[in-house]
């Protein structure tokens, strides 16, 4: 029922002029969970977030947050949500403390309370030492942390994070992941978008794969991986002619084509018998394959199998999966 879902979305559509961005998006997010919307650039992730954060209106469909209608109850919705966009929405010419205090005032906290809340958040995000410096002197990672801190000032129950780690170095990304994980300890619901499969895998309780304006699959990261297969047989071919022959023989079964590395993967149950059968079938003359290995499928594989291309760059040779 509505009470255990923090976000419910049904039949969401949105076009900008001729361009249809969302064509019937549906999903539900359980209260207190982390939900990742995974998709390549241009798949409609940001549009979905902007609709859910009440910044733009959908053309059709409806969405509820904490059971409140996004359009009819938008003022009440706004008191329960916070948005952290792709670009840090904080003032470079204010100090970290001033930014947070301003947000606290806007959330209705009076002087002393606002000061206290700002101090708490600086402490929690490891920014106390930098609190009195202008934000424009901050590093990218510090900026993101402050941005996230600013979004928590009003104690929202649903937090939207639009690509929270895009453009961050590895260390800052790790730090950000820890912060996101710690958020759910306090019972808030986190909705994040990402184009990094690893990020969705690490953080999210459930993942929805968005491509071409619709949700192609939804489930836990493990469920999505199992859609491809529990195991994959990775094959490295000897040259590009062999690569072409093997992928032709595999047809639809080919999963992770990599022309540059001359490698391709095929689902298997992992038994010796099945692997032997596959190898014999694909390379009867024992000339085409250089090496093979067996591994557990990653979310990457699931993503490619679902969308027909990789998460970051579309692959021109296989575009059939878009329905």
């Amino acid at each position: 029922m509505t009470t255990d879902l923090a976000i419910e979305v049904a039949g969401l559509r949105k076009s900008f002029g001729e361009l249809s961005v969302l064509s019937g998006v549906e999903f539900g997010v359980a209260r207190g969970s982390v939900f990742a919307l995974l998709g390549p650039n241009g798949s409609g992730k940001t549009t979905t977030v902007r609709i859910l954060a009440t910044l733009i209106r959908a053309d059709a469909g409806h969405a509820r947050i904490d059971g409140l209608d996004l359009v009819r109850d938008r003022h009440r919705v706004r008191r329960r949500i916070s948005l952290t966009g792709q670009y840090a929405a904080i003032d470079g010419l204010q100090t970290g403390e001033e930014n947070l205090r301003m947000m606290a005032r806007l959330c209705g906290l009076r002087g002393g309370w606002a000061r206290q809340r700002a101090a708490e958040l600086l402490e929690r995000f490891d920014l106390t030492g930098a609190g009195n410096r202008l934000v424009r002197t901050y590093s990218g990672g510090m900026r993101r942390r402050l941005d996230l801190a600013a979004s928590l000032v009003g104690q929202p129950s649903v937090i939207f994070l639009d690509e929270p780690t895009t453009g961050l170095d590895v260390r800052s990304r790790q730090a950000m992941w820890e912060v996101v994980t710690s958020l759910t300890d306090s019972g808030v619901t986190v909705f994040l978008t990402t184009q990094y499969l690893e990020e969705a895998d690490r953080l999210a309780d459930r993942v929805a794969v968005l491509d071409g304006g619709r949700v192609l699959a939804e489930g836990t990261a493990d469920e999505l991986k199992e859609r491809v297969a529990g195991q994959l047989l990775d094959l490295v071919t000897v040259d590009s002619a062999a690569f072409a022959a093997v992928t032709r023989a595999l047809g639809d079964r080919a999963v992770a084509l990599d022309r540059a590395a001359l490698s391709v993967a095929v689902p298997t149950d992992g038994t010796a018998a099945h692997v032997r059968t596959l190898l014999d079938e694909l390379d009867p003359g024992r000339q085409l394959l250089r090496r093979f290995s067996i591994r557990t499928a990653t979310l990457d594989d699931a993503f490619i199998a679902l969308t027909g291309h990789t998460a970051t760059t579309p692959q021109p040779e296989k575009e059939s999966a878009r329905v």
């Binding site: 001033e98 947000m103 209705g108």
Partner: protein, 265 residues
């Protein structure tokens, strides 16, 4: 709904009011404007330079019925306060571009509060510009002939003009895609006072230009200031000046409201 009782938004002392939001936004914009050193220097130095330029370079060649510094001061005042308020456009565009407006909107802060903040900051900036300009003018021989009431009236008219330009600039800021584009408005404002009685008497202009110079909004503002500060005829145009400025404020606020909604949805 039962979840209302456990709403995590129940922050102590929470009270969300449009007036409170606007005050916070004003404080923010004033602070940002004060820390924007380039804009601040422009606001303070430009008026002084223009003043010196007109009085010492052009002043000798222009014949007016009074000392040129007295004649030119109202024009320079209008030119410079106009230029300084026009920078509101840049601040508005920057806010829209940097995504902070999205955050404010998702917090239920209205566009009116955000824009009013920038307009208020503009008023504060122009007060500084005005003070510097008057100081320089007094140093180089400006001798006003105004009583306390006339000073207050002059201040009022300048502020009304600043409000009009700032709101117009906010509209322009909402229309621009980049801060560089928004900066163009300041240049437009920089040239608006030339075809007016700001620096040369209108009678010296070609016939086709005179009606434009006579009836454009800057002229009545300048003539009113001249009347108030140095006792030249012109105070009779105060009504027209007030009407122009008030009209522009009302129209610009209405257009800004529509544009803000359109730009952010």
């Amino acid at each position: 709904m039962s979840d209302l009782a456990t709403s995590p938004a129940a922050v102590p002392g929470r009270a969300h009011s449009p007036v409170g939001d606007t005050l916070v936004m004003i404080r923010r914009a004033v602070r940002l404007s004060r820390r924007n050193i380039d804009a601040l220097l422009t606001a303070v130095l430009l008026p002084a330079m223009i003043m010196l330029l007109f009085v010492y370079l052009f002043g000798g060649a222009i014949r007016t019925s009074t000392e040129y510094v007295n004649y030119a001061l109202p024009g320079v005042l209008v030119l410079c306060t106009g230029f300084v308020s026009a920078q509101t456009a840049v601040a508005v565009t920057q806010d829209l571009q940097e995504g902070i407006v999205d955050r404010f909107r998702s917090m239920d802060i209205g566009g009116a509060a955000i824009l009013a903040g920038h307009v208020a900051a503009s008023v504060v900036r122009t007060v500084w510009a005005g003070v510097v300009m008057l100081a320089v003018a007094l140093l180089i021989g400006f001798r006003p002939d105004a009583n306390a009431f006339e000073w207050l009236a002059a201040l009022g008219i300048v502020q009304l003009f600043v409000l009009a330009v700032s709101w117009l600039a906010a509209v322009f800021g909402l229309l621009s895609r980049t801060p560089e584009g928004a900066n163009g408005f300041a240049f437009f404002l920089m040239f608006l006072p030339y075809p007016s009685s700001a620096f040369v008497p209108i009678e010296t202009m070609p016939g086709w230009l005179r009606p434009i110079a006579e009836h454009q909004p800057v002229t009545p503002v300048i003539e009113t200031l001249r009347g108030l500060l140095i006792g030249m005829p012109g105070t009779d145009r105060a009504g027209v000046a007030v009407l122009w400025c008030t009209g522009i404020v009302l129209a610009a606020v209405a257009v800004a409201a529509v544009l803000f909604r359109r730009r952010t949805s």
